[in-house]
Symmetry: C2
Subunit: 261 residues, 2 copies
């Protein structure tokens, strides 16, 4: 049985709380937040506190707080030589005060307060500065997901950056599509199955092999008509840049490309 203390009350903290609460082989010994209000609804399930001097002993302390708060909060911890991890994709484990053993427990997913999350499908990337701490972090990950990944800092920061492309930037492309359809009174809803299929396709196929469309085919007529159709300069710029990017990705081996479309 692994014992943990959870610190923070944002989206990641709340979702982790729910996942650990349901999980076997892990006990949440305490939930700390600097104000009690966001966590006091869980008072009947778990010991809560807003007094950092009252933190109890546990195998792992999880700082599920904003990137900027990690260093300061870790300094305030009233103990030494225990395992303390943060949940950030981009912050160094060295940001945690060195009086404790340091590590990272990074669930790679987009969290909304409102949406319930099935943690079993979420990859957890863990990192430790001391080699002997890997096994307990792996075991902790395994209590809530099958997708556990031991990674290093460069890999984690690459994943965090890549996540911005596949999540925030992709979502912005959906938004542009929404604007384009709305401008002609067409329903954005009609695109939803295509959005899903596009995401599904790369679960099996590499994005390279999954590519189709006018840029890949170098279909100048369609590209020209699309650019003419686009009313906003901002949309034109995105169209041009991503068309150029697709062409660049596929030009070198264009002749050997399997045609999928």
């Amino acid at each position: 049985m692994i014992s943990i203390v959870l610190l923070g009350a944002g989206n990641v903290a709340s979702h982790l709380y729910k996942a650990f609460h349901k999980a076997e082989d892990v006990t949440i010994k305490q939930w700390y937040n600097r104000t009690l209000e966001p966590i006091e609804g869980y008072n009947n399930e778990v010991s809560i506190t807003n007094d950092i001097s009252q933190l109890v002993e546990a195998d792992i302390y999880i700082l599920a707080v904003s990137d900027d708060a990690i260093a300061q909060l870790s300094k305030e911890l009233p103990f030494e030589n225990r395992l303390v991890v943060h949940t950030s994709g981009s912050t160094s484990a060295y940001d945690i005060d060195k009086k404790n053993r340091r590590g990272v427990f990074y669930p790679l997913q987009t969290f909304s307060k409102s949406t319930d999350i099935d943690f079993s499908t979420i990859p957890i990337c863990y990192e430790a500065l001391i080699r002997t701490d890997y096994s307990i972090l792996k075991a902790l990950s395994k209590t809530i997901t099958n997708k556990t990944h031991k990674i290093n800092t460069d890999q984690r920061q690459a994943l965090h950056l890549a996540a911005v492309f596949v999540n925030n930037f992709t979502n912005q492309l959906y938004r542009v599509a929404h604007e384009i359809t709305e401008s002609q009174g067409a329903e954005f809803d009609i695109l939803k199955p295509l959005i899903l299929e596009t995401a599904n396709k790369v679960q099996e196929l590499s994005p390279y092999l999954a590519q189709t469309g006018p840029a890949l085919r170098n279909d100048k007529k369609t590209i020209k008509r699309h650019l003419k159709q686009l009313e906003k300069e901002e949309h034109k710029a995105i169209y041009e840049l991503l068309t150029k990017s697709i062409k660049k990705t596929h030009s070198v081996s264009f002749k050997h490309k399997k045609k999928k479309d």
Copy 2:
């Protein structure tokens, strides 16, 4: 019972053939292609031909051929006053020779030869130049999907353009993410659940409300670090343009934005 003749043997034609073959309330009376080789495997299921003068009578003729071939093929049809539709997202119905009644039967999805398609989830957008042809096109759509949409040309062309953003351009963002993770020896696979969740999220929520991340939060520190991390100028340009686009989308009503992250 609606009778159809299918013309063409590319991805769209093949997938339509399979869908209509399984469907009730529709008979494929003939499958035409200018060469028999790609369709002769279906010889035991359907009458096939490569001789356009031998086309039989049917309620609807479906030209599932490349955009450039529509006009010429429609000219060669040896009959008049019958309903002829193409399956293109961007070609005008007026490209079809005017000796016949003209329309469009546009399935909005990405088709790969290898992947089997469940047509029941694919939206079909139909269009007719003569009002009385709408009902049979709607009925034909309904034989293979529940998602049928009567649209006009502007709407169809907006959808076709928007589809490039949510499909080809999104896929290119996946590709960039693949390059970023690979450059640090991280597994692209770790991003796959996030890719799916991003697509799932906008099935319920608008892309506007679904947005999260550093650009939305105007988190200059993270944006600066990300830009420093990116090794390729092309990736930097995409990062900068889409960050700008997210900021623009959300700046006006930034104060009223529901925080989801």
